[in-house]
Symmetry: C2
Subunit: 146 residues, 2 copies
């Protein structure tokens, strides 16, 4: 039987969260956290609504996952996020010791790679899943705002 | 008239917050945010109590300050924190565009300097205020836990 629970499957759910952010006037980034093919957190960027620079999709996903699991370490968890994490989110992911991070579009200016920040050495990274769709949503957002 | 509102004055308040963390079994880091000599946030690390790796003193201080000010940018604000921020907190401070960061003890292993993370180019940094007292509290905490 075909496995429907591919990286694209979960990234598409993160992308639908990003579209919710878009519709709410937030920079369109969405995230889900998955354990054993089960989604334990589904979030999007809320920096405008909460008036809080720390309210990135990933930060909320980390907090929600820890609440859900009853422990602060995200071992055996995979984060799917539509945009490359910034250094704040990379730092939070570092502390969480999350097993895997999958992201869509690269952020060549403010992403953790360009800024020299680090994930945990145990964390596996997969880049570029649904990259074009994730990037296009960001482009559409900033075009609309100009 | 002598100015009582020195960097040491506010760092001592951050240090008393760090002691509250110590007493609660949390890694003893405390923070205050100050605007025009007025404290708008006073927080300490709550990662154990909240079971949340994102609950560092600085992260809560940033969120509380933004709530207090009614805006997400911390222009004209100074953060006093007893320990050098990690890359997550440096990343959050970057987004906040905070005017000044004053810290006590260096964190040579997990601090943002060692990890190559960046504060905002507009942010001034002052290191080493009450350094010995801030560092000693950390040493006492980890000695007690061994």
């Amino acid at each position: 039987m075909e496995n429907i629970f591919t990286d694209e499957y979960f990234m598409r759910i993160a992308l639908s969260e990003a579209k919710n952010a878009f519709d709410a006037g937030e920079i369109p980034v969405g995230a889900v956290v998955v354990v054993n093919n089960q989604i334990i957190a589904k979030t999007h960027n809320l920096t405008e609504m909460l008036n809080d620079v720390t309210a990135h999709a990933e930060m909320q996903a980390i907090t929600a996952s820890a609440n859900n699991l009853g422990g602060k370490y995200l071992h055996n968890c995979t984060l799917y996020v539509t945009l490359e994490p910034c250094q704040m989110c990379a730092g939070a992911l570092y502390w969480s010791q999350i097993s895997k991070v999958v992201y869509g579009a690269a952020d060549e200016k403010r992403g953790y790679v360009a800024l020299g920040a680090n994930l945990h050495p145990k964390t596996k990274v997969l880049r570029g899943v649904l990259e074009n769709e994730c990037a296009q949503l960001m482009l559409d957002f900033f075009k609309k705002r100009r």
